[in-house]
């Protein structure tokens, strides 16, 4: 395992060099995130479909339990149970407009992971960096459990557990646990745990800080130890269910799934599920005793348990919904944790937007009306009153809002419109709006994915490392 150990040291050193200005040391974190012996236990796998470009290149890397789809290159990297989902990468000839210039991609886009250590991380979407549209890079970076790198080229950075960087190019940043950042471009920035930041320069700036004393029971991360708290406990007790889907080669597709819905073979589907048309269920999603109405989706690392989603619901990467009833078109953002209980259900009215990284954890029934905007930490009616607002009212903000731990500056109308536009795009991309002819999306295109596995050296100096592998059509 010497090669793997020295690779880990090399990556940690490179990240530290990039973070020297912030005086942030990833060394104790890197060495205690996952025992290295785990790197030999799991195979890596990749998907092949007629609908996505295929170009995979793995060099001097360890890929235990990781999944690849589309075009990806890993070099001098360790990916542990990480999903690199390249089904939204841009193709050669695609055009985009920036600052009045229309540019064309000179070649197919590729996700390029170099000198990085990613643990249970999701890399998805496409590069939103106008300076690097052909190369979605993740370099000199360490990311912890259940981080999301979504459309965000990242260099020289650290992402804590359950952190999300969304549509943001990031250089030399340390992002604390459970932070959500969507800010266009950031550099040399240190975000404390629990910060939720969405900014569009010139339009709006939204910042919420989770109260640390209330966040700590959910996610507590101390360098030198694995993350702990409610989030990790919740996942841990359901880990066994995933072992079966990863161990069995040929899983039988559950009955009664409409032909235009997509159920990934690496999702856990437990009894009494209703899955309607145009539903998309991604790998590592977990569904149990729930109703997914037409066009609903459950993205990677989502858990939907004892719940009813009426239809066209977006449940973004890592979101959890337990004992809840959601109306039509409810959006639940990245890594949100919505937990009712059997005798105190959470009800969310149609059209409501739950901001990414929102925690709603209740011990009495709670109803959020339709067309509301919800954020932050909510345990009861009082929290809800402070951390929610009708979308119509939020859209009227023109200037400033100071409300509890929320700071907002700019145009509320632009903020709401940006969210609604994005939800529409997600539904379209996911195939929720497919009418039999038009608007095919992931739910229709990702149905028949062949999966191949690849394995590391079982013994010796290279134990845990994968040989150089090139996979092309």
């Amino acid at each position: 395992m010497k090669a793997l150990k020295s690779l880990l040291d090399r990556i940690a050193q490179r990240v530290n060099i990039n973070l020297r200005e912030l005086e942030f040391d990833v060394m104790p974190i890197a060495h205690h995130l996952v025992p290295l012996k785990q790197m030999t236990k799991f195979y890596a796998f990749y998907g092949i479909t007629p609908n996505h470009s295929l170009s995979l290149e793995f060099r001097h890397s360890s890929l235990a339990g990781s999944y690849f789809l589309g075009r990806c290159r890993t070099n001098h990297s360790i990916l542990y149970k990480t999903d690199v989902r390249g089904d939204e990468l841009q193709k050669k000839g695609a055009t985009f407009t920036f600052n009045g210039h229309t540019l064309t991609l000179a070649e197919d886009e590729i996700i390029d992971v170099q000198d990085s250590y990613l643990v249970k991380t999701l890399v998805h979407s496409y590069s939103h960096d106008p300076e690097s549209r052909e190369r979605f890079f993740v370099t000199n970076t360490l990311s912890c459990h259940y981080a999301n790198i979504h459309g965000s080229p990242t260099d020289g950075s650290f992402l804590g557990p359950f952190a999300t960087v969304d549509l943001t190019t990031m250089y030399d940043c340390a992002i604390g646990a459970y932070c959500y950042i969507q800010a266009g471009e950031i550099g040399h920035f240190h975000a404390d745990p629990g910060m939720v930041w969405a900014r569009s320069r010139g339009d709006f700036n939204f910042v919420y800080h989770h109260p640390l004393d209330r966040l700590k029971p959910y996610i507590d991360f101390v360098p030198g130890k694995a993350p702990t708290g409610v989030f990790m406990d919740f996942l841990e007790v359901r880990k066994k269910d995933f072992e079966r889907v990863f161990d069995v080669v040929n899983l039988q597709r559950p009955k009664g799934i409409p032909s235009n819905a997509s159920l990934d073979r690496y999702a856990v589907i437990k009894p009494k599920m209703h899955i309607a048309e145009n539903v998309l269920v991604a790998q590592r999603a977990y569904l149990e005793n729930s109703y997914l109405g037409k066009g609903a989706n459950a993205q990677e690392n989502c858990y939907i348990i004892n719940s009813r989603l009426e239809g066209d619901n977006v449940t973004a990467h890592g979101a959890k919904i337990i004992d809840a009833d959601l109306g039509n078109r409810v959006f639940v953002g990245f890594n949100s944790f919505l937990r009712g209980c059997p005798h105190c259900r959470l009800t969310i009215g149609s059209g409501t937007i739950v901001m990414p990284h929102t925690i709603i954890d209740i011990d009495r029934p709670l109803t959020i009306p339709a067309n509301h905007f919800v954020w932050g930490m909510i345990a009861d009616e009082a929290d809800l009153a402070q951390n929610s607002m009708p979308l119509e009212d939020f859209a009227r903000i023109d200037g400033r809002l100071y409300r509890g731990n929320l700071l907002f500056e700019g145009s509320g109308a632009a903020f709401v419109a940006a969210f609604q536009k994005r939800i529409e795009h997600i539904l379209l991309d996911n195939g929720a709006l497919f009418d039999g002819k038009r608007y095919k999306g992931h739910a229709q295109r990702n149905q028949n994915i062949s999966v191949n596995t690849i394995q590391p050296y079982p013994e010796g100096r290279l134990k845990g490392m994968y040989p150089t592998i090139l996979i092309q059509p």
């Binding site: 800010a183 320069r201 700036n205 910042v207 400033r400 700071l407 500056e409």
Partner: protein, 185 residues
């Protein structure tokens, strides 16, 4: 300018307001008041207090702004305000934020009462590398250090010891005097 030395225009340490480590902000304010009363011959009033350690060496300087910072509501610390700027909020927004925090905070009278008992170490500034000047140095050296470092005063040294304080106001007065002389000759 070169003919005037620092020693000629500095305030000797013995005439400056000082407190020992462990003193409270109230002790520092009283020391400042006392120094101002005792040394009325200075044209400009003292605006800072030096903090000395057990051996009598200067370990910090407490300005009027440092004392006022003790009255800031806990949530709007310097670090937090800097963070808001980094996050891209406008100056107007940050002003509004501070005002909001002030409204939510305790009345100023209560804050003053609490601040009086706080230790000077929590608010003093340790002198930086460019804040020392030799007693034998010329005035132009001092002007350069004050301007380049954006300082309100410098600590005057003789060997290893601090022997006085060179205040911006005294340097300005000396420069003003020289300017007038130049015009007359």
């Amino acid at each position: 300018m070169a003919n005037v030395t620092i020693r000629e225009i500095m305030v000797p340490l013995s005439e400056y307001a000082t407190v020992r480590e462990g003193a409270t902000l109230l002790d520092a304010v009283l020391a400042l008041e006392k120094a101002q009363e005792e040394f009325e011959h200075y044209q400009y009033r003292h605006r800072a207090v030096l903090v000395l350690n057990g051996e009598g060496r200067v370990v910090g300087k407490l300005s009027q702004l440092d004392v006022l910072s003790a009255l800031e509501p806990g949530d709007s610390s310097d670090a937090e305000l800097k963070q808001l700027m980094r996050l891209g909020f406008s100056h107007e927004f940050i002003r509004g934020f501070r005002k909001q925090k002030r409204l939510e905070a305790e009345p100023l009278k209560n804050l003053c009462g609490k601040a009086a008992g706080l230790k000077v170490e929590a608010f003093m500034q340790a002198p930086g590398e460019g804040e020392y000047v030799e007693a034998t140095a010329s005035l132009d050296i001092a002007v350069h250090q004050l301007v380049a470092g954006d300082h309100l005063s410098l600590l005057v040294t003789q060997g290893d010891a601090i022997v006085g304080v060179l205040r911006l106001a005294d340097v300005f007065a000396a420069v003003f005097h020289l300017m007038k002389e130049c015009q007359l000759t």
